[in-house]
Point group: C2
Chain length 155, copies 2
């Protein structure tokens, strides 16, 4: 059994630990609570792995968890979960809604990128997307043309 330690990423948490927080937030929204096994199922890892991570997150003030009980986020944990969710959402919408990347792939890529880009980058990506939507993609025709252009390979 190895203890987790803090690492890179904005809040000093590893991608893996950020994922645990994000997943707890999603589960809480979906079913009002998050159990160890729910988290394990969502992330496709074993209960024991979740346990180790949750112990670390508990000891460091990101989640609340007493033995055999539900897992909850502290304010600090929730703040990070929300930040990661926002990054995911902006990235997903950019990839799927503007670049027309297949939704499953867009989701997977967003999942990975969300842990390693700065908030400022996300902000500017979001601004670019909304600027284009507002001024250059007002008609269905514009959108169809963009899609066609992006998919083209030759030239």
């Amino acid at each position: 059994m190895v203890k987790f330690k803090r690492r890179e990423s904005i809040n000093n948490l590893s991608a893996s630990l950020e994922n645990y927080l994000e997943t707890i937030a999603v589960l809480k929204k979906e079913k009002k609570y998050a159990r160890i096994s729910d988290i394990a199922k969502s992330l496709d890892v074993k209960n024991s792995s979740v346990n180790v991570a949750i112990n670390f997150l508990t000891e460091n003030g990101f989640v609340i968890h007493k033995k055999y009980g539900y897992v909850d986020l502290t304010d600090q944990g929730e703040k990070i979960a929300l930040e990661v969710q926002r990054k995911h959402s902006v990235l997903y919408r950019f990839l799927n809604g503007l670049l027309f990347i297949d939704s499953e792939i867009a989701n997977k890529e967003a999942c990975k990128i969300e842990h390693l880009v700065n908030e400022e980058t996300i902000h500017r990506l979001e601004r670019l997307h909304s600027l284009l939507n507002k001024y250059f993609l007002t008609k269905d025709e514009d959108i169809a043309n963009l899609k066609e252009y992006l998919e083209k390979r030759e030239e």
Copy 2:
């Protein structure tokens, strides 16, 4: 001493191993050859770490290296190095040249993202960038306006 194994990422190589290949390609372009210690310096890791990685890459046909000699890429290794370099370049130009992210940060983010996005995503990002350059960012004024818009926080 632990053996490397193949993992995710397009070509089935981990981000770390892709980085070694990319670095070798860069060094070869810069100084015509790549030594273990050059690679270590570039990646800010120790010689011994480079050695372990290079042994794995040699055994699996990505690089050529005999004891105490220079490191070279096989065709297979070079192919991957070029792909990663292309991803880096598209990502960097998008982040720095279109989103106006500070060049050092843009470079760091490109370095991380380059190992986990599909070629198709890179292609579309490049197409979007060149489309915008061609039709909507022809005057210096347009570019300045975009920069201002992207940086804005309110509203």
